[in-house]
Symmetry: C2
Subunit: 240 residues, 2 copies
């Protein structure tokens, strides 16, 4: 292995959930993979695919999405570097949603068998992978709640809080200043709103003074108040 192993971001993400022995870390880094670069808007996985690989996001942002009957899109999650964007495809035979590049991304496709084998040969690894899956589920449940029972303002504030903490924890960006390369239309698709209404709501948030959105960078002036406005408590992310 050289100084900066390619799969390092993935290992770092997994180690958020618990410590790894040096041997386990080495085993993860030694997983076979195919590196690929995918342009903005390109597909990483397509709904209905029968993937032969799982996929780790090494650089850039991606999002999961589904399309409903009338053509509208729902964004299900936003993935940041280090995320295993579709660990589910290591076991589930058929992709139940698409994963698309939000920016230009670099991904490592890892064949299913070695990753599953490793999970069971080395329980420490297996537990972290499983844990990661469970946290994904927890975030999904929080999104259900966010979309189902909060108003537009609260929803967007909540989303911005989530990104702040996840990016901070991943060592990208700070809690109160980070880059979020999403258009207002994408924020709308993530929150179950329309782009027009997101625009108006963001304006109101600007005016309330505890947040600034300039181009793609978010600056949070008063974290506590934003968190309160967004009905945000970080437990569901299962940090610490």
């Amino acid at each position: 292995m050289n100084a900066a192993p390619i799969l390092e971001p993935m290992v770092r993400k997994l180690e958020l959930w618990g410590p790894l022995e040096e041997e386990d870390r080495a085993a993860l880094l030694a997983l076979p993979y195919t590196l690929r670069e995918i342009p903005q808007q390109g597909y990483i996985v397509r709904d209905g695919d029968r993937p032969t690989h799982s996929c780790a996001l090494l650089r850039g942002y991606a999002f999961r999405q589904k399309i409903v009957a009338d053509g509208e899109r729902q964004i299900l999650a936003v993935q940041i570097p280090g995320d295993l964007v579709d660990l589910q495809n290591s076991l589930l035979p058929k992709a139940d949603h698409s994963v698309q590049a939000l920016t230009r991304v670099e991904v490592a496709y890892i064949p299913r068998e070695p990753i599953v084998a490793l999970a069971f040969e080395r329980p420490a690894i297996g537990k972290l992978l499983w844990f990661d899956t469970l946290v994904d589920g927890s975030i999904a449940r929080e999104w259900i709640t966010n979309i189902g029972r909060r108003d537009a303002y609260t929803r967007i504030a909540h989303l911005l809080c989530e990104f702040a903490l996840r990016l901070e924890k991943a060592g990208i960006g700070e809690r109160d200043r980070y880059e979020l390369p999403m258009t207002q239309e994408q924020i709308a698709d993530a929150t179950g709103l329309t782009a027009v209404h997101v625009n108006r709501t963001l304006r109101t948030m600007d005016e309330s003074g505890f947040l600034t959105r300039d181009k793609r960078s978010v600056v949070i002036h008063d974290w506590a108040r934003l968190a309160q406005a967004g009905d945000f408590s970080s437990g569901y992310l299962h940090f610490d």
Copy 2:
């Protein structure tokens, strides 16, 4: 083992995801557990708990829920007999939502350690447990989509389709005739609507003629049309 092992429903559910050797099945059935009966509306797990046990639902229905700042409730999932209602608590230290009994239920509390140990001693079991977790995640994503991007009528139709297939697959009820012990208020909390609007929407569905709801029993007269109206396709359940 006697004729009808207590944990049988759980094993049966897991076997939906793949076959088990007789030895593996026996190992699952031999897991230690504490049986408990919980009255309607009683809590199985409380948001914020640090549970020491996972929990299998043996009889009756339950639902997962979160409460938002203004006191409103969002139902995140409905669990049917056989479901591992909080496998996540075998690894996650803190419950991120509550699980409550929809009817009177009988549950088996299984200590965390043996279930995790079994998962790694017997990869066949581990894979099924992990698979189960992944399907849970898939269902959560479909719920995000349902609530975020479908109108009231479609949302409710979709929910009814999901229950139909899950209950059929679990061997409880039929695809076009089953018992659903949810009040309209609970349906509202599951779909991000209000009880009043659910009432009106159900009326419209009745009038359209391909569905009847009498007390707690649902009779679907035209499955194909209901599925179409509900923008329902079963892939996300990962049956077959």
